[in-house]
Symmetry: D2
Subunit: 350 residues, 4 copies
């Protein structure tokens, strides 16, 4: 019963089957094959627009490559202080952009707001001494397990655009956001002003596959070279393509995301009902942040449940993440154990 | 019948089986799992020494990460002018090292020699105006389909070491070299003075897997950070590890390489026996470079054989590459067709 | 009467005289001349220790080159959120380090504290996902016109050293700090734990000259190459050297700094005595931050005084900077005008 | 009598006078002053066109900044194998471009030809595996002391432009070329297809000053940021501006260059008349490469003449460089001494 992350899981059986199915025969290497073109076409259908898609194996690669299209080396990228690009990629955006500056901003429930950005911009635009505001990066679903509404994204995009900033979206959990919001992929991206999206599959049941999706194709030209020189161009591209293909077949990506969201919601509701337990953020995707007594946490650890402690006000915070294959029984077992340990923890000392 | 490259193939069934076998259960992400440690231990056994191994998905990533340990941004890396790092990685070594200079050198049959390097070194060492000689990179087997003998490697290493240069080996086809030479992996690497090896599996029947093998562990410390910030740290590391594991099980990597070498040899011998056909380099691994009349090349293309034309003196050169799954019948068919077309081409016009 | 900055001035006559004196005859280029060695020796005397000195023309170059010795591309550098390296160098530290991350920290009166750093460190040290804490950069005197005491520096150095961090000092106004504190250059740098110092002269009456001073000479080896490849190695080095030489002759640097400090103090005391005027920070060097009524600011502007407005709580803040050649009469004129305008501004509307 | 380089000299008296003249009063920092605008206007007059000029202190900075406008990190820059950017800048172009590849080409008398480039291009343009041909860099006058005619430049520019390459000119000795060719600055640059020029003054009698001149102003926008983040934006810009201003006043730059060229010619003619002495390249600017007997070289060294030995076929080659202030008497003394030593060297052993 492992709630550490949605990347501690293996891959869905459909993914492995797709790899096997793609294995026969030879192919033109490096993405010059028919399947890659076909999956790109499927993405155009899904997003209801022209786009360019570049497949890579990791979310950090997808984000960094995407950002390198939007910010020059002297650019500034505005993001939430908890964003993956800011705290979990060991400086990958700086590496790929050639030294752009991430401006880490606070924000409730893991989200930036248009109002906040309006106060900060133009932020030294045109002044030679300062990194030049170039892009905004949103995480969807956020690192706090919440989701930006289409209107919020559009307002942020519009605020940035007034000052010439581009909009990037880290969609490592894009499926979870789409599943929660019930909006279309188009509404949550290019129609709202997103220029580049990391469309994540690895955390949603793939083996290792992400797509950098570029809605403004003029930006795409150089990505082929950037990907290659970063070592992210697979020779046997079919094995990346096949994963995305399987994800898009029968809306597997949404099915997975809905399952992860539903188990997260069940887990959240179960925990919220326990006295002394507090949900930190609204649970809108597949991540739950929860405060509970230290003794209860220790009890859960002793029981063998796996999860990460998170930095909370009193250091009694957990992060729990569900995935495409999380079992309802495990969720219920966790809730029951938490309730038991919390009750003990709350008892007055004799 | 596709002889374009050893990366137009799919993966060996053992590789796919290994992925499936590794799929069950959860794992600590990012290589903090027991299997990764176990496969690293297997590599220590194979190479008969302490080492650090970092798994990545592409050869370009392996080479560039490895080189970034050996050359500072102001360093110079000596390599053959046909080396993959020099001509086929779109500047990846420059990206990863922060701007080191590749010094592209000529050399018969794709090889550098100690004598040649002795003439070039110290090469401005200590002079502030010049990029500083830092490393030598050898390709084993070479891009010409030949192999460095252990003694050649040792002589090159020794020549470099006298001037403080480190030795890198691009082993995208390391298996083919080991299979041809009958020397041990240790003899061809650290015992001969190699500090960092790209141990390739992708071209040898894997899906997408390479290991950066670092024999001087003091150099290894920073690679964890370099890999992560380049986006090459897989969250579901088990799927890279499993491929290398399968390769090492029952010496699958050598079995594959021997097969590719044997079919290449059969192909080379068949072609060499045809009047008007000339092998360009000794065929010691799985690549064949062959000159034949333009009309014969066109005939083979019309027949549907696939291969790359190569820049030869008279532009009548082919590169043919065999792989772990090349069929003997295909080789024989190619030879027969080449003989037929060459005979026609050589007939005097009526 | 221009209080915009200490870089709106020209150079001191001693500096121009030194350039003329150095002009005759030929010299070995690129710093291989006797004068450069001699001035380095003078710096060793001044700092009472072995050191390596590299002369460059700008403070941004000095800071960035120095930091590039202390932080790898995946490193994190802790600095005050108002530090020149953080806000006024357009990402130069990121460029020179190859992408290190500046961690911008708040702090009263422009200063960091050991206690603050102790709470933040080890800050993800050893965790592959995070930029690795590598260095702390202090500005002496600070951007707020205050000075770190030797004990404060030592405490910060010690806190960092416990976690392996190096200490950098941006001494664009180092002279002003030494002049104010009455401590020796040694006490304020290497004896307190500073590894690399930007020893500024440009803002202190030179034409354009700074020295990167490296107290741990093992760190110095690579700086020769870093400086050259950044285009900061002057061919006619004598003209940089001569400026530093003149600065060190007869303690001209301290004489200049004392003058700038004294005029700043006079200005501060004059302003502080005006009702409705508030000094924002202690005035310990040559920068004054002062809040006064908007109408008074406009009056001063109309009078032709030049200064920068600064972002204050009510946007009624000025920064005033004095220099080596600021005239007492100009200071007195400014104070008198400020008093007059403030009095008018404070009168109740009729 | 020092013929080592044109950078072993001091500065011309007009330059020092200009610094003194520019010293009085305060100025807006960082080039926001009227003089900088005025000198840019003078350059527009000189080049008879719109342009943007950025002043820096070193030729390496000027070249690298200029190249960074013309080649992306994955770009290839074609240059002569003896070019300063290729061999004497410690990888500065790689640093500034973010890793572009210099393609070093041979060429008689230090020059590239359009025919040579026509054979190499398109050079992998559009192929993701290869660095992308982006720019050509010519050195004018060349490192061999020769000059490109306007027609040669135009032919190279046209060859490159057909494949989308831009043209850079390293004009560290641009004045010497203009003086020799008698062509206008416009004819030798933008009219012939040059996009960016390093207009050198340091080697032509300035203290330390160069201008990056950008003829396509759309390329200029980002240079302000690139210069600042490289630490090459002088706060007291007047002191760079004043040097260029003095150079342009009364055509001082051409007067200097003509003098250096004339003394070089006199030196060359004197040497060429000596039996056993051979000029290696036509002497068209202020550099002379000359082969003479080893014994004669030693004799000259013993006499106290200073010059650099150069790598020749028999290692008996000298480089001699004249400058704006080379004395005719010194030239004559060198020739006389060379004649004497050569005569002795050529005598048969008794």
């Amino acid at each position: 019963m492992d709630f550490r992350s949605d990347n501690v899981t293996g891959a869905a059986p459909e993914i492995l089957a797709a790899l096997a199915a793609a294995n026969a025969g030879t192919r033109s290497s490096y993405g010059e094959d028919a399947e890659t073109a076909r999956v790109e076409a499927k993405l155009k259908d899904l997003f209801e627009t022209e786009l360019a898609a570049f497949f890579v194996a990791t979310g950090t690669a997808a984000n960094s490559l995407g950002l390198s299209l939007l910010a020059p080396p002297w650019g500034a990228i505005y993001c939430h202080e908890g964003a993956h690009i800011a705290v979990d990629e060991c400086g990958a955006p700086e590496f790929y952009t050639g030294g752009a500056k991430l401006v880490d901003l606070p924000g409730a429930d893991g989200k930036l707001t248009a109002a906040q950005l309006a106060l900060l911009l133009p932020g030294g635009k045109g002044v030679v001494h300062h990194p030049q505001p170039a892009a905004i990066s949103l995480t969807q679903a956020t690192e706090a397990g919440t989701c930006y509404r289409a209107g919020e994204i559009a307002a942020i995009a519009e605020t940035g655009r007034r000052h010439g900033l581009k909009l990037h979206m880290d969609g490592a959990r894009f499926g979870n956001a789409v599943a929660f919001l019930g909006a279309s992929p188009a509404e949550l991206t290019w129609r709202a002003g997103v220029e580049v999206l990391s469309f994540g599959a690895s955390k949603n049941g793939a083996l290792a596959a992400e797509a950098v999706i570029i809605f403004d194709k003029r930006l795409a030209e150089e990505l082929a070279f950037r990907r290659k020189r970063a070592g992210h161009l697979f020779s046997k591209m079919r094995f990346l393509t096949a994963q995305i293909d399987a994800m898009l077949t029968g809306d597997l990506w949404l099915k997975h995301a809905r399952h992860a969201n539903a188990t997260a919601r069940r887990l959240a509701e179960g925990l919220a009902a326990i006295p002394g337990v507090r949900l930190v953020h609204p649970v809108e995707a597949n991540e739950i942040f929860v405060d509970l007594p230290e003794a209860a946490i220790c009890g859960l650890e002793t029981d063998g449940f796996r999860f990460y402690r998170w930095l909370g006000e009193d250091k009694q915070r957990l992060r729990l993440v569900t995935a495409f294959d999380t079992k309802q029984a495990d969720v219920d077992a966790f809730v029951a154990a938490a309730a038991r340990h919390a009750a003990t923890a709350n008892e007055p000392a004799a």
